[in-house]
């Protein structure tokens, strides 16, 4: 099966520092591809390059065979690359429904049609309802987003991503700061989402990663040292030394 998103030799230099060095990754629909590594391994820089937030110094990113390496972030998003951030990035002043509706309207034609009311746009309202149901937030649709719990905000951020109808989801530590119950809910959501999306998951919670990931890439100092299914990563000697700790 050909990859939905494929990355070749992706490199990012910040002055003399090589934050990401020659990374190859393939993302397939129906798979959660986890990227693990210590702090400073270059995981967030990798996501930022894939989403277009920062430019790659070298290498190539392809979406469905098209080279998107030089395409701006907003256009990549409209082409189907959605992302979440390590620090929750939502619209706290708006209601939960408005958050998703605004996102659903991003790719709509004729944005200058000012005689059409945003709040009465049927298509985007329908999408908002659908993604809120998918994320289990439909009960909270009328709440002001900023007043929700941390876990619910993280779920909302995923719902906002989904409202753009992405094919690839780049998730930067979606479980950060979540309690056990919230983690379970998020993992359920991810398991459902992977059927229709290609997911790249950066996460520090190793139990969660090994439970949900279909493929794991391990990064150390900006470079990939191993890629494989969870079982092979677990037993990989190099990974054990570099990351998981020999004692485990």
């Amino acid at each position: 099966m050909s990859a939905l998103m494929s990355v070749e030799g992706l490199t990012r230099r910040f002055g003399g520092l090589v934050a990401v060095s020659g990374v190859d990754i393939d993302l397939h629909q129906g798979e959660v591809h986890a990227v693990i590594g210590t702090n400073g391994a270059g995981k967030s820089t990798l996501i930022n390059m894939l989403s277009g937030e920062i430019a790659a110094s070298a290498g190539r990113i392809r979406l469905d065979g098209h080279d998107i390496t030089r395409i701006a972030q907003s256009r990549r998003a409209r082409m189907g690359v959605g992302r979440s951030y390590q620090r929750t990035t939502i619209f706290p002043e708006f209601t939960v429904r408005e958050n998703c509706r605004l996102s659903a309207q991003a790719a709509m034609p004729r944005p200058w049609a000012i005689w059409q009311a945003s709040a009465r746009c049927e298509d985007s309202n329908a999408v908002a309802l659908e993604v809120l149901e998918a994320a289990g937030l439909d009960q909270d649709a009328a709440r002001i987003a900023g007043t929700m719990s941390h876990g619910a905000k993280r779920q909302l951020e995923i719902a906002i991503c989904l409202a753009t109808r992405p094919r690839v989801l780049l998730l930067d530590e979606p479980l950060a700061g979540m309690g056990a119950e919230e983690t379970e809910r998020m993992l359920d959501l991810l398991a459902r989402l992977k059927q229709r999306h290609a997911i790249l998951l950066v996460e520090h919670d190793m139990d969660a990663v090994f439970r949900i990931a279909d493929r794991i890439t391990v990064m150390v100092n900006g470079a990939v040292i191993a890629t494989g299914d969870p079982a092979s990563i677990r037993t990989n000697q190099e990974v054990r030394i570099a990351y998981l700790g020999e004692g485990h």
Binding site: S51, E53, A72, Q73, S74, R75, A77, R78, G82, R83, Y85, T89, I90, F91, P92, E93, F94, E98, R101, L102, S103, Q105, A106, A107, M108, P111, W112, A113, I114, W115, Q116, A117, S118, A119, C121, I160, C161, A163, T164
Partner: protein
């Protein structure tokens, strides 16, 4: 019910003004025209600051450019508003396109500084060159006309300005409720998320900047037609500061706030510089106006529009 009232209040005010028009004394009529022009100017900045979250300290440049374009193009023969108005608005919009395209590459305090710098450049172009009569400015020999309507007439001035204010208010109200307006609000709240969601943020900001500049140009056109004279002070940075104060005083994030702010600011300035009201302090009106504004902002952090919320037990205005 209350909600509905708020909805129709601006329209009711406009109708009331239209009915009162013929009965007003020349002084009152002139004063109201001045306030309405400033309201249009304030509304144009509200689109940038209140709706999009872009704090500009150079907005007076477009106001001045609209006014200068009107006077320069009308020459000694005068001219028809049918082409003077589009020219003034177009000139302001074109300048806003250039200034916006460059300044919107920066953010926050840098954006404030860059807009200020561009406005000061425009100020000195008119102040230090012969283009617009130098520091004295230039007079308009014949006011604009439109068919039988002559801006020389007090009544025509009043109704043209009132219609312009209503149109500006209506346009901004329309923008606010549209997808375009929702996107501007999204940019104000979280630009990063907007970009990640697929909005070409720069293009949206530039569009807002150009519309705001064009509306400031409209206010400039009306001002030139009312005063019959323009001078470089129109573009000066303190004029940009004053209009910013108006919308803050009125309450950011509300169209009514911008109008309320323009009214309150002009009234305050008028009162505090009138000997009959404040005696010898009138000569130091800048000082008293400054103190008054500090007091207002300290007591009403949400502006005058927030006063209604404080007074009503229901909360939000």
């Amino acid at each position: 019910m209350q909600r509905r009232l708020r909805h129709y209040l601006p329209a009711a005010c406009a109708v009331l003004l239209a009915l009162l028009g013929p009965t007003l004394s020349p002084y009152m009529s002139d004063f109201i025209v001045k306030v309405m022009i400033l309201s249009i100017f304030a509304l144009s900045l509200e689109l940038l600051v209140g709706m999009t979250g872009l704090v500009s300290l150079g907005h007076a440049a477009f106001y001045g450019i609209g006014a200068y374009a009107t006077v320069l193009a009308s020459g000694s023969e005068g001219g028809s508003a049918a082409w003077l108005l589009p020219l003034a608005v177009g000139a302001a919009a074109a300048c806003a396109l250039v200034v916006g395209a460059l300044s919107l590459r920066t953010r926050g305090v840098y954006f404030i500084m860059v807009t200020l710098a561009f406005a000061q450049m425009a100020y000195f172009v008119f102040h230090d060159t012969k283009v617009g009569g130098g520091s004295d400015g230039i007079y308009m020999y014949v006011r604009p006309t439109l068919g039988a309507l002559d801006m020389e007439s007090r009544y025509v001035q009043f109704y043209v300005v009132l219609a312009s204010l209503a149109g500006t208010y209506g346009l901004l109200a329309l923008i606010r409720q549209s997808r375009f307006g929702a996107a501007l609000a999204g940019i104000r709240v979280n630009e990063q998320r907007m970009r990640a969601t697929g909005y070409p943020v720069y293009g949206y900001k530039l569009a807002a900047f150009v519309i705001a500049g064009a509306l400031a140009g409209l206010a400039g056109f009306l001002l030139a037609a009312r005063d019959g004279v323009v001078n470089p002070e129109l573009l000066a940075w303190h004029n940009s500061g004053e209009v910013l104060l108006m919308i803050i005083l009125g309450g950011l994030g509300h169209l009514r706030g911008a109008v309320l702010g323009a009214i309150a600011f002009t009234l305050l300035k008028e009162l505090l510089s009138t000997h009959a009201f404040v005696g010898p302090l009138a000569d130091h009106w800048q000082l008293t106006l400054g103190i008054a504004i500090v007091v207002f902002v300290a007591l009403l952090p949400k502006g005058l529009i927030g006063l209604a919320a404080r007074l009503s037990p229901r909360g939000t205005p």
